[in-house]
Each structure stands twice: as structure tokens, then as C-alpha cells.
Symmetry: C2
DNA sequence: GCAAATATGTAAAACGTTTTAGCTATTACA
DNA sequence: TGTAATAGCTAAAACGTTTTACATATTTGC
């Protein structure tokens, strides 16, 4: 348990000033005209004693922590963990570390977490914003801390975001079902008014309307898989005419699949099913499930790039960057027609 | 973009010393006999200006960052992300933040990450150790930094760990297959000599031997799902006598399922299948797949508790804590008998 | 031979806390 | 009245960096 060595120790042992050591360590030797000989001497010594600067002290002085705060809804959700993985890889390549948390889509928790991140002097934020977090995000922006939102965005806040084309994706999927002969297409979503869900609903509605069909929308107050499954089971009972369902999220679809499997295995074969968010399960399921796949790597890449750009520029550019990515349609089930 | 306020500003504005403010903020007012009146005055002021102490400065002074470094193999793996989620929840309740990374089971990357964590003065470590990381972990322990390993452990290192009873789980699963009439049970694993895999193999071998059967072991050099699927497809070709397979990890099983589905759908119905690590997919798969489910919350809870205990005690207790948890057998497939 | 330019380096402040050691005024006690 | 105890508060060092502003010696140009 040897004592940690500091820049001071180095300076003392070498009989030079800590300023010199600092300059050398920060690669400003040429600029500061430090002799090659001294540079070598210091570097060798640093190597020998395996000195590592304290990022704490450095951060205190410079005001930069090289840390990015990542706030997702649930890190154990495959969609978010895939994004987290990509963000992490990108960030590390650029010398940034990630500190993450799950909000559980709870506004109060998210608010607390943002406060914690602030106290820790996180340099930038990547946030999946829950409802009601608008002011907190605005406050971050106003105090010069860059924020990039992903998956959805807080309305009325001029923070960058990268999302997918929800309305078009939902429209295309619905139209696809209709084109394949389904006439009673339902939309199963969660009870959220956030834009990503609103847009999906809108896309569905427009497609239904364009084809002169009847819209059937079921909002699930998702708490647990079991509870959702029960609600959906009841829904299926009440709407026996349905021949297809578009699910707004992958976990809703999973609950739906469970509900159908539990009540009537035949239904799984005949029902037209499409889900938002791809999932390994959908590929292997019998029958396999067509899905709207989100480009997680692209989302992560755009988000981190936006953030790094903001972090690099000193002047606070006020123009908001809005990125809307296309989804890819994972057409699986050849049985996707009547 | 108002200036950040410091303890100094408070002291100045109130005409008192920063020492006093610090004592009050740290709840040491009574102990230090600060008058109630002054305490209130300071507290009110702090509230009013919404002062938040800089954790950086505090950490620099105290040497504690209240941060835990989490190093898993891959945060986007459902098993690890579930653990991460539980660890996160527990840590936050105790005032700790998590900073995480994925090693990809790459020793060099893990080594770098540990160095970064060190530089950042992470208080404690929770690590899924790759092979060859023994010295680095030992070095952490020797310098008084607590480390808890999960899922597996570096051999010959006296660091706490929490794992599952791999040998027994594999034995039980193998025996279960045999009890149900399967006679040619293979074990599909990855090409790793790490203890968790070695123990699974051992459990399988002992069960096979106890029943006087022949062991068939396939080691997959897992790189991608596709590549694993191809290798397994070849394996199935070469071993037509097989009637059951025990998979050492869930992703191997998924690759196996894909391989079987691609070549011969009938095989899926007749083959006895059990996989390590439960996965939502296994429940919904047709037929559903029996699995050995790891208690992720328990693993997380034990890990964080071990770590917090170490962090709390000042004396460096050298006794190593080894926790081995039981798995639960998710018996799914009623067809799990010939 | 002397001013200016250049080469090589350093002292000290600052970042925002915590904590040790101590100071002054009042009260208690005999 | 003199001394000890207590109540209430504070000065200053320390944590480990970065950075501004300057110091000293050497070389160059003429």
C-alpha cells in the first residue's frame, strides 16, 4: 500500500519546479521551450515511478471531468442497453467516461439524478427524457451544459435530439398489414403522451383513415409483464373481430404474445403482428414476428457526436440539432398475409 | 449562465468563516456547538441560493469519490444488464454512483479500464474478470481498494467473489436430461478455461460418468452469432446420434436454436435442450426451453453489500469472502422427455 | 561591446472543499 | 476575585493540479 505519488514529489526528487513537470506532462514542452534533455529525464522518471495524475485535482482546476452522464429509462431493456454499449465505446475512444442511471421513466428520480450529475460536474448529458423534465433540461442548457436527448424529446426545449421517424414507421407498418389483407388492425400502446408515442399513434391513425378503416387503440398502463398480459387478454376478449395488431414497443408485444399463447395458440398463427423495436426473440419466435428495427448504433453515434461537437466548441451555439433516423422494416413472417 | 456559488461566497455574504459553514453543512453543528440561530441562518441562505457543494473539491480533500467502478463483459447482454440495473439501484440508495464499462472479455481493455478507474479514484470495484487479469486485481487489493468479483473469479487472487454453484447446476441439468430418457447428451460451451466454465463442464462430465454414458463436448470460439451458428450446424452434422444438448450460456443456446431451426425444424421438437442463464426468449420459444436461471438480483445485492462493507470498515480485513449462490431450474418444456 | 531576442525555467495563485488546532468571550465555581 | 470550563467561532493548511506572469542566462545582430 505504497503512498500515491504526486507531481510535487516528482518535482522535488528531480530538483525542478512543478510547473515544468506539468508542462512536460501536458505535451507543452516544445511550446514552452523545455530542453529535450529535461523532457526525457522527467518522462523516464514518470515512467519509472508509474505516476498517474489525479484526475480529481485536474478537474477541480480545469472544470472539466471528461465524464458524460447517461440517463436512460432502464439499462436492462435490450434497446437501451444496446445504445448504452455503443455510446460507451464511442465515448471511450474520445477520452470520455460514462456514468449512467436508469430513471424508470420517473420524473422525480430523473430530476434527482440530474442534480447528482450536476454536482459531479458531468461535462455533458445524454438523456432519455421522462415527461415533466422540461425545466430541468432547459436549466442545464441555460447554464451552458450540453444536452442531447435520444429516443424522444421534451417538448418546447431547445436541446438537440436524435430520434427515429416514428410517424412514418407506424404508417408504413400499418399500411403493410392492410396491404396484406388485414382489415381490423389495432394499435396497442402505453399510456404516455410523449412525442415518440404520439407520433406512432398518429402514423397508425393516418394509415387507418387513408384506408377507410376503423381505428382500435388500446392503452396499457404498463407496470409489469403479468399485469400487461392480463389487460391485453381482456382486450382480445372484447375485440374478437381483430385480425392484426401493431405494438408500440417490444415489451408490449412480448406481453401480447404471452397473452395470445396462453389463451389460444391458434390465434398466434392467424393474427397479423408487427412490433416496434426489434428483439432477438422476434426472430426465433414461432411464427417469427416482423418488427420495426431501430438503428441503435446510429442513434448512439449521432448522439455522442452531437455531444462531442458541443463540448469542443467554446462559444455556445444556440441552434438546435434535430436528427430523425429511418427505421428498418424486419420483414419476417412469410405468413404475414391472410 | 450564473456563476456557480461556493462555500466561500456563502461565508463572505454572511460574514462568517467558511469553517463554520462547512461544519453546519456536514451536520456537525451540534458537535461543534454552533448556535441554533446561526445554523438556521446558514441553512436558509443555502436553500435560497440553491448551493450545492462541489463533489470534486470534496473528493480531492477527503480522498473519497463515492463512485463504484463496474466492469462487465458486455453491458448489452441481458444477464449483465440485469445485474447492472440491480447494482445501480442498490448503489444509489447508499449514495454511490456507478461508472461502468464493457471489457468484451479482452484482458488488455480490462487492464486499461482498471487504470482509468484508478486515476479517477473510484472507491471500489465490481468486476467480471477476464482471463489474465489476476495481477491487476491483486494490485488493487494490495493498495487497499476493495474489489468484488462476480460471475467468475480470477484464480489465485484473494478478492471477494459471488458466483453461482456452476458444477452442481450443470450436474443437475445433465442428470435431468438423462432421467428423462436422453442417452446422448452433449455439452456446448465456449473456449474458455475460466472457472465458471470449467465448473460447468465438470458438472456435466461427472453426471455423464455417473451414468456410464459418453461425453460429447463442443467448444465454440464465439465471435458472432452467425459464426457460432455455423459451427454448431457443422457440429450437429457430425454428431447425428445426439438427442440432447446442455448449453453453457444463453447466447450459445440461441445460436444453437437458430442452427436447428435453419436445418431441420423437426429436430427442435425432439432434441432435449437446457441452457444456462434464463432469457425471456426461452419462455416464449416453441417449444419453450428449460433453463438454469441465475439469481441476478441476489448476485447484485451480495456484491454491493460485500463492497459497501469493505468500504465502511477502515481496517483492511484480509479474509476473503466467497459466496456461491444456488440457481433455480426453470422447468419449461413438458416435452422434456422422450 | 551592448541591446534585443531567445532559451530555459520558476513562483505563486487558483480551483472548492475538509479539518486541525486554537482563539475569545462568557459563565461557573470556589 | 481569580481560575477553569464552556460556548461559539475561525485561521490556515492541505488535497494535486493548471496557468499566468515573470526571472535569469545565453545568444544574436550590429
Amino acid at each position: 500500500m505504497k503512498k500515491k505519488i504526486s507531481i510535487n514529489d516528482i518535482a522535488n526528487q528531480l530538483g525542478i519546479s512543478i510547473t515544468t513537470v506539468s508542462f512536460i506532462l501536458n505535451g507543452r514542452a516544445k511550446e514552452k521551450r523545455i530542453s529535450e534533455a529535461l523532457v526525457k529525464k522527467v518522462m523516464d522518471f514518470v515512467q519509472e515511478v508509474n505516476y498517474k495524475p489525479s484526475s480529481l485535482a485536474r478537474s477541480l482546476r480545469t472544470g472539466k471531468t471528461n465524464t458524460i452522464g447517461l440517463l436512460v429509462e432502464d439499462i436492462s431493456d435490450p434497446f437501451f442497453s444496446a445504445i448504452a454499449r455503443s455510446i460507451e465505446a464511442n465515448a471511450y475512444q474520445n477520452g470520455y467516461k460514462i456514468i449512467y442511471s436508469s430513471t424508470g421513466n420517473d420524473t422525480e428520480k430523473a430530476r434527482e439524478l440530474i442534480m447528482m450529475y450536476r454536482e459531479r460536474h458531468v461535462d455533458g448529458y445524454i438523456i432519455v427524457p421522462p415527461e415533466g423534465i422540461e425545466d430541468d433540461i432547459r436549466s442545464l442548457i441555460d447554464s451552458g451544459r450540453p444536452v442531447v436527448q435520444i429516443d424522444r424529446y421534451a417538448t418546447g426545449v431547445e436541446a438537440d435530439y436524435v430520434v427515429i421517424d416514428n410517424e412514418r414507421s407506424a404508417y408504413t407498418a400499418t399500411q403493410h398489414l392492410i396491404d396484406n389483407g388485414y382489415k381490423n388492425v389495432a394499435f396497442v400502446t402505453i399510456d404516455s403522451k410523449q412525442p415518440q408515442m404520439a407520433d406512432r399513434l398518429l402514423g397508425y391513425q393516418k394509415a387507418i383513415q387513408a384506408n377507410g378503416l376503423n381505428a382500435v387503440v388500446e392503452e396499457v398502463a404498463y407496470e409489469s409483464s403479468i399485469q400487461a398480459m392480463q389487460q391485453l387478454s381482456g382486450f382480445l376478449d372484447k375485440q374478437p373481430q381483430l385480425d392484426a395488431i401493431l405494438f408500440a414497443t417490444n415489451y408490449l408485444c412480448v406481453s401480447g404474445l404471452k397473452a395470445m399463447a396462453a389463451r389460444d395458440h391458434q390465434m398466434l398463427q392467424t393474427m397479423g403482428i408487427i412490433s416496434f423495436d426489434d428483439y432477438e426473440l422476434f426472430e426465433l419466435h414461432t411464427p417469427s414476428i416482423t418488427s420495426i428495427s431501430q438503428p441503435t448504433e446510429q442513434i448512439a453515434e449521432h448522439a455522442i457526436n452531437l455531444l462531442l461537437t458541443r463540448l469542443a466548441q467554446t462559444d455556445t451555439d444556440k441552434t438546435q440539432h434535430k436528427i430523425e433516423l429511418a427505421t428498418s422494416f424486419m420483414l419476417r413472417r412469410s405468413s404475414l398475409s391472410k
